[in-house]
């Protein structure tokens, strides 16, 4: 399986957790500590090695927070 790399725009995340709910590998979660400028706990990568670059998370994100890349 290709290894995926997730890039996040945490400043505009609204913490809806839709990305978390559709990730098959438990890669994403909300940051329990940090706040973004919108006062949400933004999404963060909690299991980077598990990502398979399926892009489910980016496809369901309503706010364009997530970009997905594949290692060459």
């Amino acid at each position: 399986m290709a290894k995926g790399i997730i890039k996040l725009r945490q400043d505009i995340c609204k913490a809806c957790e839709l990305c978390v709910s559709v990730c098959p590998k438990g890669v994403l979660g909300l940051d329990p500590v940090a706040f973004n400028k919108k006062s949400y706990h933004p999404v963060t990568v909690i299991n980077p090695d598990e990502c398979i670059a399926c892009a489910n998370c980016a496809i369901i994100c309503p706010d364009g927070v997530i970009n997905v890349y594949k290692e060459d």
Binding site: K14, A15, C16, A58, P62, D63, E71
Partner: protein, 248 residues
């Protein structure tokens, strides 16, 4: 590093005012992804509705005009006649399209206007605080039916895709949903077919997009997506009601 998904240039670099988990953001993105991939961003003219997406023109990176409540298809029909080569589309909610704009949508379909309509059915008036819409499901609570919509008082929810598909010149009618990544991928294909129908001048194209309004449904976004799966899709079945050979 190879890109698998990058946020489309078709969206302006602007945060939306939509609630967390609202489907409007996904619907906006899909329309813009399709226009970018078709190389038609500069050819598109959108008409935004009254409803939460009243500000769609601030987010979609195409020429847009705001219409009075429900009148988007009439405005779009006028634009298309003046700009016959443009890809003209309306973006409308269920209050806008099925309630106050019920007249305009049927007559645009009946006239076979060569435009596309993207109908965001979230079964509620989102913007005004959660009143019952023509598409509100039986048993669904809204501020104007706090015990749930009941058949005796309010009749059955309107199946707009089926109604529009009765018009012979509405040549492409499909219902899709934004509840899962797989369905979102299919929704994008339907949006592309709608623009292809318009490009070929085949007639009116209508895509109903089942969407979530987590705020007014009172559900966490992921639960709202489950609600679409469990309650909306059984009543509003997904699939094509009609589709011309040319775009199949």
């Amino acid at each position: 590093m190879k890109p698998v998904f990058e946020y489309t240039q078709g969206m302006r670099d602007k945060e939306t005012h939509y609630c967390p988990g609202c489907s409007h953001g996904v619907a906006h993105r899909l329309i813009m992804e399709v226009l970018v991939e078709r190389g038609e961003l500069g050819k598109a003219i959108g008409v935004s509705p009254v409803g939460c997406s009243i500000t769609a023109h601030q987010y979609l990176n195409v020429d847009m005009i705001e219409s009075p409540h429900g009148r988007a298809p009439a405005v779009a029909a006028g634009i298309k006649r003046v700009h016959p080569k443009a890809q003209v589309f309306t973006y409308q909610g269920d209050g806008d399209l099925a309630s106050i704009g019920g007249n305009e949508i049927l007559h645009s379909a009946e006239r076979g206007e060569k435009i596309c309509t993207f109908f965001i059915n979230n079964a509620i008036y989102g913007m005004t605080g959660g009143q019952m819409a023509p598409t509100t499901l039986i048993g669904q609570k809204a501020t104007t039916c706090p015990y749930g919509r009941d058949l005796d008082n309010y009749g059955l929810p309107m199946k707009m895709a089926e109604i529009v598909s009765c018009m012979d010149l509405a040549v492409y009618v499909e219902r899709v949903a934004l509840n899962t990544p797989a369905n979102i991928r299919k929704a994008k294909q339907a949006i592309n077919r709608a623009f292809e129908v318009q490009k070929l001048g085949l007639g009116y194209a209508f895509v109903e997009i089942l969407s979530a309004c987590p705020t007014n449904w009172g559900l966490q976004p992921a639960k709202a997506m489950e609600w679409v799966t469990r309650n909306m899709i059984p009543y509003f079945p997904l699939g094509q009601l009609c589709c011309p050979e040319e775009v199949k």
